[in-house]
Amino acid sequence: MLYREAGEFRTSYPDDSQTFPIAFDKFRYYAILAVLFVGVPFIVNDYWANAVLVPVLVWSIAALGLNILTGYCGQISLGTGGFMAVGAYSCYKLMTAFPDLNVVFCIFLSGFVTALVGIVFGVPSLRIKGFYLAVATLAAQFFLVWLFNGVPWFYNYSASGQITVPERTVFGIAVTGPYTEPWAKYLICMFFVFVLAWLARNLTRSSVGRSWMAIRDMDIAAEIIGVNPLKAKLQAFAVSSFFVGISGALFFSVYLGAVEASEAFGINQSFLVLFMVIIGGLGSIFGSFAGAAFIVLLPVLLKNLLVGRLSWPTDIATNSEFIIVGALIIFFLIVEPHGLAHLARLFKEKLRLWPFPH
């Protein structure tokens, strides 16, 4: 009886197409937002921000982006790491070329740059399908990382080949660079997460989103009933890359501060994001967050347990992480192909009936 929808009547279509049509959900949503934006910044410390919250938020954006492409539009990409690199390097180039430009703009612009690159690599998707496409996107992954490593212009000819973020402020508060307060890092990531999740939600509930899902479920039928496959697929690639690019820009500028392309944006990164989407739930916005949180927190937990408590060597912890994540992927695909998002829905169903079992 804690969770109820009886007695709630939607009397108009706009009411019915809201994100949270049930009053209890809506209330809870606003409460969570208030805590996230107003509460957490006051209590967050360095460890929580850098090891937990900021990486979860940044990876959530990447997962959201890949989920749009893979979960909603059905096109598998293994090039996520490469597109994150595009976001990071264009953010770096923009920040150093236009020192007066607000960093928030730089990050959004990096998203647009990545969207353009995404469109270029999305063109083959019109001819190539399924795992053929997945392999084709590896071209983006390897080529882009090679490009950023091999062409010194991208890292401003720095001796180490790394890019290091310059210090920038928003409203006079440092958000990038070594002197950034943990709460400022957290808040700027939270801002982007909020805006992007809202955009993703809007797109997926309107006709753009329906055209993506139609392509996913049956591309030939979609085309025959009037979905332009070229437009739908390229839109999905553009939007997805936009998200992934912003994630890469934040990953570099806010989270790490200095990166090197092949280390920070290698193929394992692409897999991690794909795993987040699978574990979280394909075609679910909530799932992208759940999956990102899961994949980011699992190694933190393992490290605390194995290295911290049992004082095993770190390489064993890393190997166990690979084993556990790999096994979980298979487990989820076998037992719960709809991911954590589906588990959450089932839980809600239970809650609706609670405490009466039938």
């Binding site: 598998i76 063109v123 083959p124 001819r127 190539i128 399908k129 399924g130 795992f131 053929y132 997945a134 392999v135 084709a136 590896l138 071209a139 992954q141 390897f142 080529f143 990382v145 090679w146 490593n149 091999g150 062409v151 030939i220 039928a221 025959i224 193929i267 897999f271 794909l274 795993f275 699978i278 049992l310 095993w312 060597p313 390489d315 064993i316 890393t318 190997n319 166990s320 992480e321 690979f322 084993i323 556990i324 994540v325 790999g326 096994a327 979980l328 992927i329 298979i330 695909l333 076998i334 192909p337």
Partner: protein, 328 residues
């Protein structure tokens, strides 16, 4: 000018040998894809895993030594023996068969009716699992592979070509050995498919799962067989690559290049896999040779993928695949 041309020919020949190694890896993919429609992303890791197992067994390493030492505070690392190469290879092949059985029992059995894309993602999970498992079992450091294989530059070829062209070609004996191994493997696989009973069953399954089931072929048995064969082919590839560049994680990245090879050759064609491997091997070496002065090195990292991508846009079914007629 002639000098440069001869040099380019030498580069292509080296590429040819590399390409044959790619084909060897690609062969494993083709086998699994043909028999079960599974696009086995983990084939690359299987190559690494097989090579790690071989080295570990040969050197008498204790499996999971690291883990055991961490848990029990012991200091064991080695059984203190050295297995002969043949025994180590045979044991590794058995390990690959066990792996195939485990894959069938714990993964494929449950995913029979899923879409190919789900199976593909499951094999990515498997790749991740095996990567951690292999390193936990045998340790992650780079290891030399110590087998009685011919190594070094072939003097015969060098002196012969020097007499003929006034320019000695440097061809590694190992590459020649690899080419021979690949040829023998392909030949025996073709014979196996054509003439053995299991081979016929495999072809039946590849043609139509349902129909094969209905005439009493056990799909699960077939899958174990085919994954075992793919594992053993992976072992062969692992030996060749391992002898060339040491057994290390980057092996699995090299093995990944079998994917673009397949996209060129078509996923179901064994000759396609070989030709694709050669095209990519020669292509990436030549591309690097000509473009290195202009755009810098390490183009091998992406050339194969780019080539496959561009090629597929114009011919989605690959070199040997059949034209796809779409239906509704």
């Amino acid at each position: 000018m002639v000098e440069q041309l001869l040099y380019a020919i030498e580069v292509s020949l080296n590429g040819l040998m590399t390409g044959i190694l790619y084909s060897l890896v690609a062969l494993g993919f083709v086998l699994i894809f043909k028999a079960s429609g599974v696009f086995n992303y983990a084939q690359g890791i299987m190559v690494l895993f097989a090579a790690l197992t071989l080295v570990g067994l040969q050197a008498g390493q204790v499996p999971f030594a690291h883990l055991i030492n961490a848990v029990f505070g012991t200091r064991i690392y080695s059984f203190g023996w050295n297995l002969p190469a043949i025994a180590a290879i045979a044991l590794s092949a058995m390990v690959m068969v066990v792996l195939a059985m485990a894959v069938e029992k714990f993964i494929l059995k449950f995913l029979v009716h899923q879409e190919p894309v789900i199976l593909f993602m499951a094999t990515i999970g498997l790749a991740y699992f095996l990567e951690g498992f292999g390193e936990l079992m045998w340790g992650g450091e780079i290891k030399p592979l110590d087998l009685p294989l011919p190594v070094g530059i072939s003097d015969t070829i060098e002196s012969a070509t020097f007499e003929r062209f006034g320019y000695g070609f440097f061809i590694d004996k190992l590459d020649i050995a690899a080419a021979c191994v690949a040829a023998v493997l392909v030949l025996s696989l073709v014979l196996f498919f054509q003439y053995s009973k299991i081979g016929r069953a495999l072809r039946a399954v590849a043609d139509d799962h349902q129909a094969a089931l209905s005439v009493g072929i056990s799909l699960r048995y077939i899958w174990v067989v085919i994954w075992s064969i793919a594992g053993i082919v992976g072992l062969a590839a692992g030996i060749m690559w391992g002898a060339k560049s040491g057994v290390q994680f980057s092996l699995s990245l090299i093995a990944l290049k079998a994917l673009p090879v397949l996209m060129l050759g078509g996923f179901t064609s064994i000759p396609g896999a070989i030709l694709g491997g050669i095209i990519i091997g020669v292509g990436e070496k030549l591309f690097d040779f000509f473009m290195n002065p202009i755009i810098g090195g390490a183009t091998e990292n992406w050339f194969a993928y780019m080539l496959a991508l561009i090629f597929l846009v114009f011919r989605p079914q690959g070199l040997f695949g059949e034209r796809i007629i779409e239906r509704v």
